[in-house]
Amino acid sequence: MMTTTYRTCPRTGLQFDTQAESLMRFNAVAAVLSMVMGGLTAVLVALTRWPAIKLLPADQFYQVLTLHGVNMLLFWIIFFEIAVLYFCSSTLLRCRLATPRIAWLGFALMVIGAITTNVAIFQGGSTVMFTAYVPMMAQPHFYLGLILFAVGALLGCFIFLGTLVVAKNERTYEGSIPLVTFGALTACIIAIFTIASGAIILIPTFLWSVGYIKEIDAQMYRLVFWAMGHSSQQINVAAHVSVWYAVAAIAFGAKPLSEKVSRSAFLLYILFLQLASAHHLLADPGVSSEWKVLNTSYFMYFAVLASMIHGFTVPGAIEAAQREKGYTHGLFEWLRKAPWGNPVFSGTFISLVGFGFLGGISGVVLGAEQLNLLMHNTYYVPGHFHATVVIGTTLAFMALTYFLIPALFKRELILPGVAKFQPYIFGLSMYVMTLVMMGAGTLGVSRRHWDMAFAGAPFQYEWPGAAYLMMGIAGLAGVVAVVGGVLWVLLVVGSLLFGKKLEEGEFSARPTILRMPVASSLSAHGGAVSHHVPGTMVLGSVLLVAFVLYYFVNWKYLSEVWPMA
């Protein structure tokens, strides 16, 4: 066993296992580098799909789009999630990380895998999009890189579970694990299913690409691929919901309105969230309506119920905490007097609202079996998932980073004046971008499509003017979002390199037990939780009403389409 020491952060009271701490730092840095790749390609994609600019030629566009999908969706998010898993286990439970050597091995595999796949795409023979649908074939090392990356991530998940066991055996906490750790456990469980599915499909596909297997059924591939491809989005949901809870606790000392409700909601995620992989197969021939309806609805929408619950309890917990501090006037004083200048909070709140109103509602509409016919493979789809995975996950992770720079990297944030605005620039431009992307998709515009004018086609088709307008706005908003992303990268990298070094805090050879007094910024306010959250009730009702209205608008639209019964 590697020996380790524990550092108690003087600013937050958190205690870091120094092994875990450097693992978190390396994973976070790898995440930021992936984000740089994803961001560079994002500008190129956005400018090519902007009809008035159409920057790249077709072949380069598809190549760059493959890079964008792979680096953003897989590498940026999953590197960061591994850091979150280590934080939620070792740090929050105040215990040593299980088998740090294997954790380093996992990290090395992930890095090698990420580089291999990137090289494969750059070489040009693997322009297959991150979905790599068979029978379109990539170079073998494209798949190999993904497999190595997945194995590394799987090791990370096992380390997380191992650390839970260590903490329990060594009694570093009493009772149940913290809610945030429970959310991370949810993410970890979904991740294990995700990666297992990935192995089931990517290994045969790799063998097929080197000629050992003759054929892979295209429909079977889609079924199993999406058990990985979509479930990995569900890891994100569980992870960023955990981050929301964590930020509410860190920034407000908010405690969950009810442990029972929040944990039960996570249980619904564990049981049902992954079924939504069916969203991608609603327009496919191979599976029946019964299978589609049950799976696409997460077994009667129980996981949507869970998301609505989290969407209520996170702001609810913040409201309760704020009211306790005396912000009790009217419905919304608690919200008005929130620290809007603190990017940890503002980023989280923009993430929460955007995820609920834009990502959540559109996802359920898109995922209704019959409504999917209106939008399958249109620009609505990337519109929807930029609202979930960019506004929801990425922005929540960005917000958390502002907290981690002093706590984990022991540096003062440079340019706090810029940091204050970054979540607004990135988040709000993404709101605009996702809205108009969904608008263009509603008019039928295709995703992954180089030319709205169909140059070289035997016929002509003219999209409505509104579609062109919205594609233009999407391009513009996308560029602004990239500026927001660049600011974030500059702030993070700048702080790590040039930020004022902060006091490290005390080192000790053994962990201190969790129930010891924690620094005041983290400790909860005493007494029973107040359940009086009228403002959140209003916000929740607005969400429900918007949801119901938008849902029926789309059924109305569907009812006007040619009959297919």
Partner: protein
Amino acid sequence: MSEQIQESAGEEPERIPVMQQVLDNPFLLLFLGIVFPTVLYILWGVMEIASVPVAR
């Protein structure tokens, strides 16, 4: 186990509700979280695809 500790402390033994015990058991949750989607999504889906009739 927790009951033992409390009993030895001479207190009224407090029963932890079953649901809380389930939620406190990561490996049971892992099992459930794998079995549900494997059965409902993958196995059922594979069976459906495998049973598509051949065109004449």
